[in-house]
Symmetry: C2
Subunit: 351 residues, 2 copies
DNA sequence: TTCCTCATCCGAAACGTTTTGAATCCGTGA
DNA sequence: TCACGGATTCAAAACGTTTCGGATGAGGAA
């Protein structure tokens, strides 16, 4: 049905010759400059459409110095396989970029190189107009590099110090875990366990802070014990949960830094015949797909990954366009209340 | 610690001047040609490393005609949000490409354009050396376009007709559903319902085929009724499941074309107080994260998305290198046997 | 000495755009 | 008739590579 006009050799030159015009004029006509007569502009546009003309990306890039690409480096393969976060994130990002005509360039680091090398090559080769960084560590050399290199970038998450002079979007983990702690306290829980992670990620820091600060500021005599587990090691999480739950004075509530960990905790509870939420409350973070179907339903926080990614895309676009100075945003996750939390057992003992 | 040599103005020209050599020689030295003296080669390589030189991507692209990018167009936003498939797929693909130094270029289609337009622009602008296509329809114009355009591409899935002259990797859905049907028959099920989808995707066709063919070829008098639902419309799936399960002679087993649908079916069964697997067997496809935690555990097929994506990457690389003719592969999913299937109730009635 | 070969290096073209600064054309007012 | 100005158009440079076809120089054979 459609013309199916399959060009092979595309170029302004060919178009120009066909139209008896100079390359300059054709180029400017297509770009919509006002110094080309309306009549010829129409001629050119029509011919271009007929010839199925699309400007060569490399040539344009070379002369304008802009590629139209945003760089994102993929997590290393050591990271977990089934990560719903990644798909969501990319989808959200892609959408924000598409509106402005940018595309997303994804680099995976090969076996024989480091993420920093990939990042450096990507930036120095002029492949990208901007960079998105995820999984920010408390101290992150990638941030230092990009800052020094003076290329637009936005991070998902932030470093512990010196995060005032670059743009970032972060999930307000402190708020979430503070909220969760308050919730547990109000339900009469006194012995709380926090399952945190071993990695030095910034989000670990703020989430732990949310718990400890809230506890300190409360007039409750509740206490929290912290475990540090490898969040990608399900067996390890499970084992630690078993250990904690077998203690004589076991906690009545467990806060898990991620839903994956919460899942392992639920498993362990089930293994030990501990009923959730009657004998144990569990609250996670992330609202992964499993959360809604695992019995009795995991109470957790939704971090609206997609929205966050869209925000990141927008801020980055602004930054590339030179429109704004640095922007920083803390996005509040919201509690998804399901069946895994309840009032503490033995409520009688509440002062 | 590191030199932190922040170049701003990179170019062969600068390097050449610094070394008192011609641009040609520097270029050829870095490329490892044999017509540059070993001694100067070492000098050049050292200087390049010191200067932190990375060749400009656009310039290279322009002259070589190769970008080093593989194109992947993202599903439209109408698709479901939480799709673990996408992340897996991109991760697998990225990994295969990284080994050969290719990167992944992701295009999202904006609101005012079609996927075909995006694809065409991407190809015609010379942005990519090859294309990966997913979600193949029974008849797919994208395949036709790429074939005509004569650019390397590999599809995940295949079209119904004429799929012999291009490269594809597909999941053997026919095998899986044939297997599942056999399994149900051997467990004594006579009334089977198949929950299929409304879209005209190629995978629908082959999965349905697996069921019907197996049934025809068996000497059982079992029958199958087919429902067509919108797989992204959870409520619709649920409603249809309710309808089917409320029938006087309701099926004793349900095959769901995807795990999402299976989840809705499990929900409906639970709503009606029908016990799975005692009164109803349910088998899905995809092995999404929920499958392992939803009670009583969803029996389903794992399609090893990551491996598939890696294969696609490899085949595409071969194709770009001109190494091979078309390659086609059917990857067998494997059954993940969990708690949602069992022998049919009323086994006495087996002839 | 002269010529040839080999090793090494280099100038210039080419890739397909965008953009600058100038050229051309036309009508109008003097 | 001539100069001027505005509206159009264009030639050429530039972006940073790769590569083709020599150029240069040294050493050895005739």
């Amino acid at each position: 049905m459609t013309p199916e006009n399959t060009r092979q050799k595309g170029s302004l030159k060919a178009l120009a010759k066909e139209l008896n015009l100079s390359i300059t004029t054709v180029s400017r006509a297509l770009a919509g400059y006002s110094d080309v007569a309306e009549k010829t502009r129409l001629r050119v546009v029509k011919a271009a459409a007929d010839a199925n003309y699309v400007p060569n990306s490399a040539a344009k890039m070379l002369v304008t110095g802009r590629s139209g690409y945003i760089g994102l480096t993929l997590p290393l393969r050591s990271e977990p396989f089934s990560d719903p976060f990644l798909g969501e994130f990319i989808a959200g990002l892609g959408e924000a970029l598409a509106e402005r005509g940018q595309d997303l360039l994804i680099n995976t680091v090969a076996a024989n190189q480091t993420e920093m090398q990939v990042l450096q090559r990507t930036v120095e080769s002029g492949r990208v107009d901007g960079i998105v960084l995820t999984r920010i560590k408390e101290k992150d050399e990638r941030v230092d590099f990009l800052r020094k290199r003076n290329i637009p970038f936005v991070t998902h998450g932030r470093t512990l110090h010196d995060h005032s002079d670059y743009s970032w979007i972060d999930t307000d983990g402190e708020f979430a875990f503070s909220h969760a702690t308050d919730l547990l306290l109000s339900l009469g829980h006194h012995r709380i366990a926090l399952f945190s992670i071993t990695e030095h990620m910034m989000f670990r820091y703020v989430r732990e802070l949310g718990v400890t600060q809230t506890l300190e500021n409360s007039d409750s005599d509740a206490s929290v014990t912290v475990s540090h587990v490898d969040r990608f090691d399900t067996d390890g999480c499970f084992a630690e949960a078993l250990r904690v739950l077998r203690q004589p004075n076991r906690p009545t509530a467990i806060l898990a830094l991620t839903d994956d960990i919460a899942l392992a905790v639920l498993d362990a509870a089930s293994e030990l015949g501990i009923s959730v939420p009657n004998q144990l409350s569990v609250i996670g973070f992330g609202n992964i797909p499993q959360a809604s179907v695992v019995p009795p339903g995991l109470t957790t926080f939704d971090q609206s990954t997609r929205t966050t990614a869209e925000q990141i895309g927008k801020v980055l676009m602004d930054s590339i366009d030179g429109k704004t100075v640095t922007q920083q945003q803390l996005i509040r996750p919201f509690l998804v209340s399901r069946g895994s939390h309840a009032a503490a057992p033995n409520v009688k003992s509440s002062a």
